[in-house]
């Protein structure tokens, strides 16, 4: 499953990518509309979302496909 985690600014996207990388997730930054950037990460669970929340990265929405 792909998670599309909408994080708003590019600065948040850069932070999110680094946090996920430290936790073993490969992700990509893509342009994204309660516009900006989203992090795309493959995961069978919502763990990446929870990891980002624990690191106080602002999350504006999550799409799953």
């Amino acid at each position: 499953m792909s998670l599309y985690i909408k994080v708003g600014s590019i600065t948040n996207a850069q932070r999110a990518q680094k946090v996920l990388k430290k936790n073993g997730y490969r992700s990509s930054v893509r342009r994204n509309p309660n516009c900006g950037y989203m992090i795309v990460v493959d995961s069978s669970s919502d763990d990446p979302v929870n990891i980002l929340k624990n690191h106080h990265v602002e999350i504006r929405g999550v799409d799953r496909s």
Binding site: G8, S9, I10, T11, N12, A13, Q14, R15, V29, R30, R31, P33, C35, G36, Y37, E58
Partner: protein
């Protein structure tokens, strides 16, 4: 040329900075934070890495570092974004116009009132002077880390602690100390730090930054495009985008990153020691000259940044500087954009001649400067 005006901007810049700027012009001339194409995202990554390096040096979170075009802009954002009508502000008696003018302008418009706290070489006395001016309406203390004219060092850690004790926001102007004297957000109790990129951090001119603690919420002063929430007319509140409307100076910022690397590799303590030795050697020579008037005590690590002001005979500071300029020696004369400092040291009649070395200044250059001064 012997360049002793590094308080204005450091010169020369390291080769690594020039290379980084040129490379950025070729590879990173894409608008970061706007596009979804690889080059735009890669450029944003480069910009973020500079935030991280500044974060490592000063202890603020990377996302809380907003790039500006100089320290003056950062100070205007910090001051005007912090106060509301009826607030009281305290500044020091040596502030640069970059702080004094915004505060004065706010007072002239009837938005705030303000007082100036006197500097003293007795640190406790300086802190007491700030404390004595605190009122129930005081919401902001703005204090430079070091005077750009006389080098006097303010005890920002203690002033910051005083501000915390009273729930007052503390802003420090690190124009003369960022990259020269260690500063740490938490250790020094700094809520907001304003700094130029082109002085002690050896970045290109046209760079600076505003760094804030997590607990600080700043009202935006300049609104515009941020690449986010474009369908809303509300300015985003999150840092750094709230303070970075419009296109960033990519090549300048990436050059600043190389400057920060240069300082990190040299070591801030080593740079401070080196520059202080230059100033100490000049001070000792000036002290022996009956025609020279000095205004400050012998410079040490505890009392000053590596900046020295003096006057020669009854010459105007401009005349002394002009005579040195004819010998290809660059020093700064006049009032150094700091009426308050010259008022405090009673030098409004002729200003002062200011010398300020950099990491590149040599003892040989200091000797040539002294030889030429003695020939006046």
């Amino acid at each position: 040329m012997i360049y002793l005006d590094n308080s204005a901007t450091t010169n020369p810049k390291p080769h690594s900075v020039k290379s980084a700027v040129n490379r950025a012009m070729e590879r990173f001339s894409f608008n970061s934070g706007r596009g979804g194409y690889r080059q735009s995202v890669d450029t944003a990554g480069r910009i973020f890495s500079v935030r991280e390096r500044i974060s490592d040096m000063f202890g603020f979170e990377p996302q809380n570092i907003a790039f500006t075009n100089n320290c003056t802009t950062a100070l205007n954002y910090a001051i005007k974004g912090s106060v509301k009508k009826g607030d009281h502000v305290i500044i020091s008696s040596l502030e640069h116009n970059a702080c004094a003018r915004p505060v004065y302008a706010l007072a002239q418009r009837g938005i705030i009132t303000y007082d100036t706290a006197e500097f003293s070489y007795d640190k406790e006395k300086t802190v007491d002077n700030f404390k004595a001016l605190i009122k129930p309406q005081t919401t902001l203390i703005v204090c430079m880390h070091a005077s750009n004219v006389f080098g006097c060092l303010f005890p920002i850690k203690e002033i910051g602690a005083l501000a915390r004790q009273y729930g007052i926001r503390f802003v420090t102007d690190a124009a003369q100390t960022a990259g020269v004297i260690p500063i740490n957000a938490d250790n020094d109790n700094v809520d907001i730090m304003c700094a130029p990129g082109h002085k002690g951090l050896y970045g290109p001119m046209g760079t600076g930054f505003l760094a804030v603690q997590n607990s600080v919420s700043l009202r935006s002063i300049l609104e515009g495009g941020t690449g986010t929430s474009s369908l809303s007319l509300e300015q985003p509140e999150e840092m750094p985008e709230s303070m970075e409307s419009g296109t960033l100076n990519n090549s300048g910022i990436i050059g600043l990153g190389a400057g920060v690397d240069f300082v990190s590799q040299k070591g801030i303590d080593n740079i401070y020691s080196h520059e202080l030795k230059m100033v100490q050697s000049i001070y000792k020579e000036l002290e022996k000259m009956p025609k020279v008037k000095l205004y400050t005590p012998y410079p040490t690590k505890n009392n000053c940044a590596p900046i020295l002001s003096f006057n020669y005979a009854d010459y105007s500071s401009e005349k002394t500087a002009s005579l040195l300029a004819k010998q290809n020696i660059a020093v700064r004369s006049g009032y150094h954009c700091s009426m308050l400092a010259h008022l405090f040291f009673s030098t409004l009649d002729r200003g002062t001649v200011r010398i300020s070395p950099s990491a590149f200044t040599t003892f040989n250059e200091c000797e040539i400067f002294m030889k030429n001064l003695k020939k006046l």
